[in-house]
Symmetry: C2
Subunit: 328 residues, 2 copies
């Protein structure tokens, strides 16, 4: 694997994921298109195995490891979706997995990670260092650390969603003006950018982030990595990584357009729209790119745009809150 | 079109619907499979254009009409999903459509039907005859009546969902022991039965119905058409047809296994499971076959079973009620 992954690496990941990852549908809605004055496609990664795109990168990583390393197991840290993806990827490959999760992660994500057979170690998001806990487990057991985003095997795995998206658009004889994906550490957005730019160079690629956690948008604007001021406090629990990755940021600078930043209220509105118009359950962090399209930060008028709805692992209470945004 | 439609008719309908109907995904969930002790697939027709399978039959019907008839428009009656499917099919073909809808249909379904450009005429489900109103409009305007289920063009259009389902199962190298679909007048269930039995004769096909509106289950058991005692009163607003159709019942007798009957409470539980495990928004009537699988009425243990989740057009309030069944 070269330092800077290419379209060919994403295509190799797609072959590893064949029969493992769901080829999630690319959906559109005539009524919404009319309202927006353009064509908006949704890549429904919330329908992916484990309820988010994360199994793509995790499985690609584990399947790329040597057999000797696989025998020693995997360890990872995650606010929830990488946890579930990694745990399920390990189960599919018959491997042991240990997952370090924040104590305030949604109960559903913790329960689902355990249900895949992984051992879960909880930590305090503000006081503890998940990296230190995870690295300690790796030292003790010989397990390989599977990072949530900052590794070529992870981001090329996530990029397979972008490969599918472009192939699906081409099958509809559609050329995309822009693609946007949610961004935490940047694994999904950069992986998708490699795939999209490789297959369709004229398509702009953007990353969406929640307000207050817009480290990538500010880093792209400044030309150097910036940090978020806070470590928690958005409903987008999946998008709280403090800063762009060592591996992902150079790729983001090269391939991504300006960042798209949305408020928690706009995210709740987007979740309600996904419910009403697309019949999809989207979690807050999974809905930021859709929110950018619905609010006009990512213009749809007169254009053809695709957004990735990256996950659907949302607690009942949060989903009820979203439904209250526009009760019918 | 012969009196008794065949697999070839469903395949012809699939060609008409190519590029119009979404090829909805066939999903499964490892955790749920483990709990059920078998493999359960969900055909997510709630992701279909207009939020239900109904556009398949409506579009196939309109596309099969003569050009002269198409110029005079279409009229239909429906509790909501056929209305939306017919209105959107007419819009796609540049036709005028008038839809007779019950006054107690979900507000969302009425609004969406109007949004597709159709004229909506409301009636009282208990006092009025929707057939009389619709036939009156047809006499006055020369419009063609597009029935909700009881016509070969309708049921072969709906059957394309079954064609896809079997093709998708075959692509996964899976042989299905049973397939179940929700049933009101029987268009979807019989269309699917023709496709499934044609491609996979050993697969049993069942129809799911809500308790109190189990006219098909009782008709199959009795060997003659039975009527429901009530015309309203289930949360499954899409499944309240009073009796099996003239066209659909003989096909049902020939191809369908025993009927599956579930309570409204079981339907709400199934909607919550679809939310939690499949990230799908399923309306009550769309969830009856899933409910049958989850309650064991359609056994999954030791078997491979597929259920159609046929629609997702549910009001916010009803969905909130489903989420309260098992709050996390």
């Amino acid at each position: 694997m070269p330092a800077s992954p290419t379209l060919a690496d994403v295509q190799a990941a797609a072959r590893r994921l064949d029969g493992v990852a769901v080829r999630t549908p690319l959906l559109e809605n005539a009524r919404l298109n009319e309202r927006l004055g353009g064509r908006l496609f949704v890549k429904a990664e919330c329908l992916q195995r484990t309820g988010s795109f994360k199994i793509r990168g995790a499985y690609n990583f584990l399947a790329s490891m040597s057999e000797a390393d696989r025998a020693k197991g995997a360890v990872g840290w995650s606010s929830g979706n990488h946890a579930q993806g990694l745990a399920e990827a390990a189960r599919l490959l018959g491997m042991k997995a240990t997952i370090v999760m924040p104590a305030d992660a949604p109960a559903l994500k913790v329960a689902n990670t355990r249900a895949s057979g992984a051992e879960v170690v909880l930590y305090d998001r503000v006081k503890d260092s998940r990296e230190e806990i995870g690295l300690g487990i790796a030292r003790e057991t010989g397990a390989t650390v599977v990072p949530p985003y900052d590794h070529p095997w992870i981001l090329t795995g996530q990029g397979t969603a972008g490969l599918e998206l472009v192939e699906q658009a081409q099958a509809l004889r559609v050329t995309l003006d822009a693609v946007a994906a949610p961004c935490s550490g940047g694994g999904l957005a950069t992986g998708i950018a490699i795939a999209v730019k490789g297959l369709s160079p004229s398509t702009a690629v953007h990353a969406g982030e929640p307000a207050g956690f817009d480290d990538l948008a500010r880093s792209l604007a400044a030309g150097a990595r910036q940090k978020n001021e806070r470590l928690s406090g958005s409903i987008c629990d999946a998008l709280l990584a403090p800063t762009p990755g060592d591996v992902t940021f150079p790729i983001a600078r090269q391939l991504l357009g300006p960042g798209l930043v949305v408020s928690d209220e706009e995210v709740l509105d987007a979740m309600e729209t996904a419910f009403r118009e697309f019949k999809l359950v989207v979690e807050p962090g999974g809905a930021v790119a859709l929110a950018a399209a619905l609010t006009g930060r990512l213009p749809v008028e007169g254009r053809t745009v695709a957004v990735v709805c990256s996950g659907g692992n949302v607690d009942h209470a949060t989903f009820r809150t979203a439904l209250e945004r526009r009760p019918a």
